[in-house]
């Protein structure tokens, strides 16, 4: 709260997000397996989401108690929901 970050920081984050998006688009034109493609794209997307939440949504400059209340529980819920996701690949192999 006390130390307001300047415009430069936000523009840097914006450029970083654009670069990550460009990398994703290039990846989309490469021949990769479903699993590798899914994991790489999701990894990059989580980095982008982290940048947006930390800087644009200002969470990096909030109190740690707020961050600890919001983020771990949400990630845990998402992880629990993703628990059965690999099953989709098994169905594909069953033919």
């Amino acid at each position: 709260m006390s130390s307001e970050p300047g415009n430069r920081l936000y523009l840097t984050v914006w450029v970083g997000l654009l670069v990550l998006t460009a990398i994703e688009i290039v990846l989309a034109y490469m021949q990769l397996s479903v699993t590798v493609m899914l994991l790489t794209l999701m990894g990059l997307s989580f980095v982008k989401a982290g940048l947006i939440v930390a800087y644009f949504m200002h969470l990096r400059f909030e109190r740690r108690s707020l961050v600890l209340t919001l983020i771990p529980a949400t990630l845990m819920c998402i992880a629990l929901m993703a628990f059965f996701f690999p099953d989709s690949l098994r169905i594909l192999e069953l033919g």
Binding site: T21, I25, A28, L38, L66, M81, A82, F85, L92
Partner: protein
């Protein structure tokens, strides 16, 4: 913000433990619930998409290019929203409204491009209940996911316009601008997952 005292006795009700206003906390809690809604819809789409060997891929290079432009619109509108919030905190009323109008334009550009893409697909016979490739799950999941997101963007544009109007007239404070900004960044964040999962994944895989 002066009323948000922290320190001893905070958890005993002596102050705000998060040092933020209740509007902002409310928006954060809404964003959490919306995160889970979108997570479920993205997982449903990806699950049936991966488990289905005949999944249609109507997104050619042209629509991937358009989706990339839509990503650029949303990312840029997010950064203009950041500048609107910064100016609102500094008390620059005119600048805030200008940056918010820029944000609204970015959002509208997204809605127009996306609607155009939808109409193209509908023209090919892709509807929520059927398509030429006989995989109705595609239309169901695609339109539900992108439709929910587009609803968020459209409502966000209206929300931002109302807040900008009210901030200009002095009815809303800089906190209201910041809270509307949180919502807008979240809409942007969701698209960061829809874009790779729906468009990029269907290019070669």
């Amino acid at each position: 913000m002066a009323s948000l005292k922290t320190g001893a006795g905070t958890w005993g009700g002596g102050g705000s433990p998060y040092a933020i206003g209740s509007k902002k906390l409310g928006m954060w809690l809404f964003i959490l619930s919306d995160t889970l809604t979108f997570t479920v819809m993205l997982m449903a789409y990806s699950y049936v998409r991966i488990a289905n060997p005949d999944w249609p891929r109507p997104f050619d290079g042209h629509s991937i290019f358009l989706a990339s432009v839509m990503t650029l619109c949303l990312l840029s509108s997010s950064v203009t929203m950041v500048f609107a919030v910064l100016n609102a905190h500094r008390g620059n009323r005119k600048q805030t409204v200008r940056w918010m109008i820029a944000t609204i334009i970015g959002g509208l550009a997204f809605v127009v491009l996306h609607t155009n893409e939808w109409l193209g697909l509908i023209g090919q016979g892709v509807t929520p209940f059927g398509n030429p490739w006989d995989v109705p799950l595609f239309g169901a999941t695609f339109f539900a996911l992108t439709g929910l997101h587009m609803t968020h963007v459209t409502l966000g544009v209206i929300y931002l316009a109302v807040v900008a109007w009210g901030f200009n007239g002095g009815r809303f404070t800089d906190e209201d601008v910041e809270v509307s900004g949180l919502y807008w960044h979240f809409v942007d964040l969701v698209w960061m997952f829809i874009f790779p999962l729906v468009y990029l994944m269907s290019n070669t895989v």
